[in-house]
């Protein structure tokens, strides 16, 4: 029994590691390529480990290109979108869960329906809207655009979290003398915190990785995020700057990896705990 389970475990581990390597290989290749000298890049047969490690590409990227501007834009976009979405979604989800008003369920479904629309069909109307209200070609237009697809998702995620918070808790706070808003801040928010953190992380990732809207809605360097900025800067019809591209990719991934490392436990709870009673 023990022997067969040992063999089974070895087989399972082998399979798991193979899969992990398969998935991780592009990432490993990306990191390796970013530190290879230019001369080594196109060698045939290709070398796996770099013979010489250089950080020249990183230096060029940071000093000679507008990479840092894009980075700043991306961070601003991710934080701004997350802040806006979380503020709206926590209050909105709470309303959808707790308040009784006509059409509440219909409203919740409608919210989901907007999420089901492919974002491509919304781009042109959104662009015209941005022009009308005079924020086209700015980061604000992107924050607004990202909110249109992040908010419905956040609302639904937080709604299931909030539904798991016992109604009596809020009632108790109200009887204890708190106002509606105080009860929300003192009692509901701390209970919903794991849900809020995971929703925030989802939203930030969405905003960080978004490409299509950024490509269409913004066309000045000063307002370009990393995704479109790096592409337009390093990929032209004649040439792809592989080493710079890889270095940029590594640096783009870093913030997310760091965020994941710290908030992983909330994120997994967000996947699983949506429907679990608190």
């Amino acid at each position: 029994m023990r022997r067969s389970s040992l063999a089974g475990r070895i087989a399972f581990n082998l399979l798991a590691w193979t899969l992990v390597l398969l998935v991780a290989f592009p990432l490993i290749w990306m990191i390796l390529t970013s530190v290879k000298p230019q001369t080594e890049l196109f060698r045939i047969p290709p070398s796996f480990w770099p013979t010489e490690i250089t950080f020249e590409h990183y230096r060029r990227l940071l000093v000679e290109t507008p990479f840092l501007t894009y980075m700043r834009n991306s961070i601003f976009l991710a934080l701004g979108t997350t802040l806006l979405v979380i503020t709206l979604a926590t209050l909105g989800a709470h309303s959808l869960v707790r308040f009784r008003y006509p059409g509440r369920e219909r409203l919740a479904q409608l919210v989901l329906f907007t999420y089901l629309l492919p974002s491509v069909v919304l781009i042109i109307p959104l662009y015209l809207l941005m022009v009308k209200i005079g924020i086209s070609n700015t980061l604000w237009s992107l924050i607004l655009a990202y909110t249109t697809f992040a908010l419905p998702y956040a609302l639904w995620l937080l709604r299931s979290f909030m539904a798991g918070i016992p109604e009596d808790l809020e009632a108790a706070a109200l009887v204890d003398g708190a106002s509606r808003m105080e009860a929300f801040i003192d009692v509901i928010l701390p209970q919903a915190l794991p849900g809020i953190i995971s929703t925030a992380l989802f939203t930030a990732i969405l905003a960080w990785n978004e490409y299509l809207y950024a490509l269409v809605l913004v066309n000045t360097d000063s307002a370009r995020p990393l995704t479109t900025g790096v592409m337009t800067m390093l990929i032209s019809a004649f040439n792809i700057e592989w080493s710079l591209l890889m270095a940029a990719s590594v640096m783009m991934s870093l913030p997310l990896i760091v965020a994941f490392a710290f908030l992983q436990k909330y994120l997994t709870r967000g996947f699983g705990a949506g429907g679990v009673k608190g």
Partner: protein, 345 residues
């Protein structure tokens, strides 16, 4: 006062006057509107029509926190992220009571409820009984005019429940505050209350002292709901001073009726059935001894009756017996709406 959720009426025409310092229970089966009534008192639900007064003040439009009430929830509703001390302190904080005054108040309540050793713990680290006491403490610390308790003991095991019942009675005697207690457990209502309001289908059935509710139930519902084992209710009719149900006849000389009606329901408490040498012939169907007494199922002229006798009387199933009844303790209810027909004494 009336409360409707859409077409469903939860509470209809409830008119209840609770005296200051009184312990009143709202008693009824689930879905009778007792919790809704309490939540309206608390301000957590808005009445569809009618007024709610606390003292001389109409509180319909006053927020729950400004009504000078405290509430204990069935689920306790302790704030999970706060310690016991923070839980108890919370109502004081929300009332803007300055920090230096809060500590002594929390300490006093903790002492009263024997919670001193648990102040730094989180609610989930406490047993059910301790959580219950924290919930009480959170209500007590403010010294409110009215306490609202929504089935506070229903999540405790039987032994602890009896213990907390006694503690609550003692607490009420000590602080002398008005308490409104919602329960579906008649034992709790009977043992703790000054008066009981029996509710069914959103309507008040009877408001009286526990003794009067037991002895003089206002209608068939209250008669059947109060008492364990419950009152025997037999449908029949009333003619020439006798109650007739099928083959069974019972002379009712001692009963003084408000209005003689032909279709009636006869109510007999189990303890008002007497076994003796003389009486109507009956048969023992089933004996359930409980130790200090025994619950007996009798059969009399085709009708089943539940009786209660002391443990000193031994009966066997199938045995023939002679039954008589304490005629003055019998109850007659109208056949149509179930109202009491006996004259009130």
């Amino acid at each position: 006062m009336r409360k409707a959720f859409g077409a469903a009426v939860a509470v209809e025409n409830l008119d209840l006057r609770i005296e200051s310092g009184e312990f009143v229970s709202l008693l009824g089966p689930s879905g009778c509107g007792k919790t809704t009534s309490l939540r309206m008192l608390a301000g957590l639900e808005v009445p569809t029509s009618g007024t709610i007064r606390i003292g001389d003040r109409v509180v319909n439009d006053i927020a729950p926190g400004k009504r000078d009430i405290a509430m204990v929830f069935q689920s306790y509703a302790l704030y999970p992220h706060m310690t016991v001390a923070q839980n108890i302190e919370y109502p004081l904080k929300k009332r803007r009571i300055p920090n230096p005054e809060r500590g002594p108040k929390v300490a006093a309540v903790a002492k009263l409820l024997h919670l001193e050793d648990y102040l730094a713990r989180k609610p989930r680290q406490l047993s059910g009984g301790q959580q219950q006491r924290v919930a009480l403490g959170r209500a007590l610390v403010r010294d409110p005019a009215v306490f609202l308790l929504d089935e506070p003991l229903s999540n405790l095991d039987a032994k602890l429940r009896a213990h907390m019942r006694a503690e609550l009675i003692e607490l009420h005697q000590r602080i002398g505050r008005t308490m409104v207690y919602v329960t579906h457990d008649q034992l709790e209502a009977m043992t703790m209350s000054d008066r009981i309001a029996v509710l069914a289908n959103g309507r008040l059935q009877q408001l009286d002292t526990p003794a009067m509710i037991y002895r003089r139930p206002a209608n068939r519902f209250v008669a059947g709901f109060i008492g364990t084992p419950s009152m025997n209710l037999i449908k029949g009719h009333f003619e020439l001073g006798r109650f007739v149900a099928g083959d069974w006849q019972l002379p009712l000389d001692g009963l003084d009726l408000d209005e003689p009606t032909s279709e009636v329901t006869l109510g007999i408490r189990p303890e008002d059935i007497l076994i003796g040498a003389a009486g109507q012939p009956a048969r023992v169907k089933l004996v359930e001894p409980t130790g200090h007494e025994a619950i007996i199922q009798f059969e009399i002229a085709g009708h089943d009756l539940t009786g209660r006798v002391g443990a000193e009387i031994t009966l066997r199933a199938g045995e023939p017996v002679a039954l008589s009844f304490r005629t003055t303790n019998l109850h007659l209810f109208a056949g149509d709406d179930g109202r009491r027909l006996n004259k009130e004494v």
